[in-house]
């Protein structure tokens, strides 16, 4: 849906690409004639600072065959100039403290990448520390297998975090100041709904959030204490509109939009106060406490105007909604952790957490509906007033007690038990205010549950080069609202890491078994969900000589989820929902330097999900395109997976032109294909060339 000016930028990029290549080749030729044997040295200092810098500026070209929208949704690498993997650092080499002892700036991705970042770190020992993170991401989403391809976006999101810590009295007393921003804007499409039909509409997305933090940390009466006060202001100013008349997704009814406009400003604020304390008593008891109180509020006022025809073929001259909402959410969280050092090798810990919040929201709706019948005669104007009120009350206690015993330096075990008690209550009412005798309709639900979990684990170092971990959790989770998460579960993890002089082997296995018994009172049957997942991963890093490194790994993810469901098709029927993942991931990277002026990198990555394999395809991603619907053979069953093949080979060759300049040439290829829908397949070619300029690096 978004038209790209790729052709122009492609041509420009290729010209730049060739130009940079020619410059680099001429540099290489010139350098070959007068080889420089002077090492860069590691003593590049300016005014008492050691300066180290490496900046890579490159040009990438992109050529996509197939679905450009899917390519951009996945990758969104664009034609053009980009800054990549660049850094700059200052280190104070004088033996005295200066206002800036250390400065680090690291940046990558600015320009033609989909995401760019810059990290800045500046500090002076014992005086202050400053961290700044700046990020930008170009979010593109245009997928034909999600929401009828009607939820799309092409937005930029800018995020930043600035944090300053000052030490007026050393590390034992600190003042923290912080600020963050988060801006998102850009066009997209969304859905609006009226008269039993839904319509794709355009949207100008605009959200904005700003955070401020101030805090103190220090030591008082032997306690390490911290107190932080924070504030966030956020708002949304997205507007929705229709570019032209639309008959909507339901193409067999009479509903049409001739115009649509929605303004939906939302303003919110969040205040929070966090207090934390920690002390270790007599090297025997470690005590930690934290209390957070937050108060978040939102206010909204929506105006929506629709013109067109309704599902009874009446003319809608104006359907105007004014809806105002006001919601508040106070939340208190308290945590307490205690560790008792019974002996140097045996510790008992207890962690208690308390969480409570309430959400009180109310809205008021006013609708003015002006219509004419299909013959054009006016109908009575309808005025509707209604109100609704909703409350969510939540509280949870979690207590975990664990014992940890270091049997020998090479072996330790732990054993624990976790108890959770949770209560969730929902209630509210809705009321039409148009008539005098309207009565509110109330709703209310309450759920309470307790869960128990056993925890055990061990770490062994059978040899100096070998570390082996395993742990297991068995019990029940406290998700009373959903079945997609686990109820009764057994999670097992094992990790093994073998580290030799020049080679490292790393293996891990994760197993999760979840069962979720449920009962349908309406059907009068017991049914449930069983979810089993297994992940096996292994990789090797081999670095036999400094000039050669090889790294490779394989991960297999196996998941089968089977859940009984009740489906209306068209009457209520019991069916099965099954979802399969059979994902194989493999990668291999090689780095080599066959000559002191030439090095290369090659990599191959493949992600191949076989999905449900040969199982019958009863429901292949039903998609409504026009009036054509994928036939559903057994509508009560949903059997799904997402078999894909996503592979990406790449290489890069680096030529050292001078002691401070490298010329890089690279190429990356992406090949994406889906088994059930080929409309989103793509192949992308990304040639790349760059210059990397070093400053102050050690002998190269």
């Amino acid at each position: 849906m978004f038209d790209k000016n790729y052709n122009m930028t492609r041509i420009a990029c290729r010209i730049l690409f060739i130009a940079l290549g020619l410059i680099a080749v001429s540099g290489l030729t010139a350098n070959a004639q007068t080889p420089s044997s002077t090492p860069a040295g590691d003593d590049t200092t300016f005014d008492g600072y050691k300066v180290t810098s490496s900046i890579e500026i490159g040009i990438r070209s992109v050529d996509v065959n197939g679905s450009e929208n899917k390519y951009r949704s996945d990758l969104n690498y664009r034609n053009g100039v980009r800054l990549f993997d660049s850094s700059f650092s200052l280190d104070n080499t004088e033996g005295r403290r200066r206002f800036v002892d250390k400065l680090i700036v690291n940046a990558s991705g600015w320009g033609a990448d989909r995401s760019g970042f810059a990290f800045i770190n500046a500090e002076s020992a014992g005086l202050y520390k400053f961290n700044g993170n700046f990020r930008r991401i170009s979010l593109f989403s245009d997928l034909n297998n999600h929401a009828l391809n009607q939820h799309t976006s092409n937005t930029n999101r800018d995020l930043g975090d600035l944090d300053l810590t000052v030490y007026p009295m050393g590390d034992k007393f600190r003042l923290n100041f912080g600020a963050s921003y988060n801006l998102q804007k850009g066009p997209g499409t969304w859905n609006a709904r009226a008269y039993r039909d839904d319509f794709e509409v355009s949207v100008n997305n605009k959200t904005n959030a700003k955070d401020f933090r101030v805090g103190i940390e220090g030591n008082l009466l032997g306690f390490n204490l911290g107190l932080t006060q924070g504030y966030r202001a956020f708002n949304e100013r997205s507007s929705y509109f229709l570019d032209g008349a639309s008959i909507g997704n339901n193409q067999v009814d009479t509903t049409t939009y001739s115009s649509f406009l929605r303004q939906f400003p939302i303003d919110g604020s969040s205040y929070f106060t966090m207090f934390n304390a920690q002390r270790t008593f007599a090297k025997r008891v470690d005590f930690t406490a934290r209390v957070i109180y937050s108060l978040t509020t939102t206010k909204s006022s929506m105006i929506e105007e629709i013109m067109g025809r309704d599902n009874n073929n009446n003319y809608v001259d104006l359907d105007r909604f004014e809806i105002s909402g006001d919601t508040v959410r106070p939340q208190t969280r308290g945590d307490l952790g205690l560790t008792f050092f019974v002996t140097n090798n045996f510790k008992i810990s207890n962690t208690f957490s308390f969480d409570k919040f309430g959400i009180d929201g109310g809205e008021f709706l006013f609708e003015q509906l002006i219509r004419r019948n299909s013959a054009g005669n006016p109908l009575a104007t309808t005025l509707t007033r209604s109100t609704a009120y909703r409350v969510t009350d939540f509280r949870r206690y979690v207590n975990t007690i664990e014992g940890d015993y270091q049997i020998r330096d090479w072996v330790g075990i732990h054993l624990g038990y976790r108890y959770t008690s949770r209560r969730v209550e929902l209630f509210g009412y809705s009321q039409t205010l148009s008539s005098n005798n309207s009565t509110p309709s109330f709703l209310g639900e309450e759920e309470e549950n307790q869960t128990h979990t056993l925890i055990a684990g061990m770490k062994i170092k059978p040899a100096k080069f070998w570390v082996l971990f395993w742990d297991v959790e068995h019990g029940s989770a406290d998700n009373v609202f959903t079945r997609t998460e686990n109820y009764k579960f057994t999670n097992f993890r094992v990790r093994s890491r073998l580290t030799f002089d020049k080679v490292i082997f790393n293996f891990s296995g994760i197993s999760k078994d979840n069962t979720n018994p449920s009962r349908s009172d309406i059907l009068g049957v017991d049914f449930g969900a069983v979810i089993k997942s297994r992940i096996f991963a292994g990789n090797v890093d081999w670095n036999p000589i400094p000039e050669f490194a090889f790294s490779s790994g394989y991960t297999y993810t196996h998941q089968t989820s089977t859940a009984a469901i009740v489906i209306n098709a068209p009457s209520q029927r019991q069916g099965i929902s099954q979802f399969f993942v059979r994902d194989h991931y493999f990668f291999a990277d090689v780095t080599a330097r066959p000559h002191k002026r030439v090095s290369f990198y090659a990599s191959y990555r493949i992600n191949k999900d076989l999905g449900q394999g040969d199982r019958p395809l009863t429901d292949p991603y039903p998609v409504l395109i026009g009036n054509t619907t994928t036939p559903l053979l057994q509508p009560e069953n949903i059997i799904a997976s997402y078999p894909i093949d996503f592979r990406s080979p790449e290489f890069r060759v680096s030529f050292r032109l001078t002691k401070n300049v490298d010329w890089n040439v690279g190429y990356q290829y992406y090949d994406y294909s889906e088994k059930y829908q080929t409309l989103q397949d793509y192949r992308a070619h990304l040639p790349y060339t760059s210059l990397r300029i070093y400053f102050g690096s050690p002998d190269r």
């Binding site: 770190n121 859905n191 966090m274 510790k347 909703r390 090479w410 890491r497 349908s520 559903l632």
Partner: protein
């Protein structure tokens, strides 16, 4: 004045008052390790005469001394507030006098080579405990599995700091190198994130290479943006955002709410009830490739798992109703529609 405003003013007022009381009480300075004798008490060897100073160590351990000198640990000597305290090598290894007089006798100095991770970590915590982010280390997943401070941090400074950059991917920023020093030297990590974390949690690499993923390998995000490796009170050691919210809300501000009409799982179960946070083949990082499948696994007339989760009245054999979020577009919560239409 509304009650909400009163609460906000009271919170801010209490914070300012406490800050002032604290700052002017002068008591915090008394609690500091304000003299050498007190500072020495954290070490097994607490006699001031047992210390010889880092310059003496340098005579034999010059290479290590050079690396340490560039780190924050090495710079403490430049801080006037540390002048009277133990600095340098002996602040962790204890007094070196006996070691020196013994001709480098390894049994007469604290060596961490043979100690288990928890013992090593206790030495670090003698100074580094007390920050909110570190307070739960002794109860965290890493501690529980015997992963200590020096498994991730290099107290002497990263030895790889001076390794030359390797030619690497044109997509993912490189590893710890001299030319790319920032990530490595931040927090004195042994390797940069995410490579450090993936070196144990190797299964996550495949998740971050799926078609939809958070941009971790690309360097825009770090593992520590969402997780606190030092432990925490939250599941999976995730961080909190804006006080009490899930860490996802830090960036996804439009999901923060509160909404007049909440989709209950959003706040009570968390984002991961429906989404896979690291990466997925499925659009929107959903747990299922098919949105209605995800919805129906809860909205299925269950009696013990679905307060307020009505079953769909729509005929699922009609393709039009197979895409729930086309109509229920504000599925995370709405301020204008109980059915999340707008």
């Amino acid at each position: 004045m509304t009650s909400t405003k009163k609460v906000k003013i009271a919170l801010l007022g209490a914070f300012i008052l406490l800050t002032l009381v604290w700052a002017f009480s002068g008591t915090f300075s008394k609690a500091m390790l304000s003299n050498k004798a007190e500072a020495l008490s954290i070490l097994p060897s607490s006699n001031a005469d047992d210390f010889v100073g880092s310059e003496t160590c340098k005579a034999c351990h010059e290479d290590q001394f050079k690396v340490v000198a560039m780190t924050k640990h090495g710079r403490l000597s430049e801080d006037p507030k540390w002048k009277d305290k133990v600095q340098g090598c002996e602040s962790c290894h204890g007094g070196g006098k006996a070691h020196v007089e013994g001709g480098g006798d390894k049994t007469k100095i604290i060596s961490f080579a043979g100690k288990n991770s928890k013992e090593v970590s206790e030495t670090c915590l003698a100074c580094h405990a007390g920050r909110e982010s570190h307070n739960n280390f002794r109860r965290g997943e890493h501690w529980r599995n015997d992963v200590g401070c020096t498994d991730c941090h290099s107290p002497h400074g990263s030895e790889q700091h001076f390794v030359e950059a390797k030619t690497g991917s044109i997509t993912f920023p490189g590893e710890t190198t001299q030319e790319n020093p920032s990530i490595a030297t931040s927090f004195m990590l042994k390797r940069s994130q995410p490579d450090l974390c993936i070196s144990c949690h190797n299964e996550t690499e495949s998740q971050f290479t799926k078609p939809f993923h958070h941009k971790v390998l690309e360097g825009m995000m770090k593992c520590s943006d969402c997780h606190n490796p030092h432990g925490g009170f939250e599941t999976k050691q995730t961080k909190l955002a804006v006080g009490n919210d899930a860490v996802c809300i830090k960036c996804h501000t439009d999901k923060q709410g509160p909404f007049v009409f909440e989709h209950a799982p959003l706040k009570t179960e968390g984002c991961s009830a429906c989404h896979v946070p690291h990466g997925s083949n499925n659009p929107k990082l959903l747990k299922r490739s098919n949105v209605r499948q995800l919805c129906m696994e809860c909205h299925s007339l269950l009696s013990n798992a679905d307060p307020g989760a009505p079953q769909t009245p729509h005929n699922q054999s009609t393709g039009r109703y197979n895409n729930c979020t086309v109509c229920h577009a504000r599925i995370h919560g709405s301020n204008a529609s109980a059915a999340f239409f707008r």
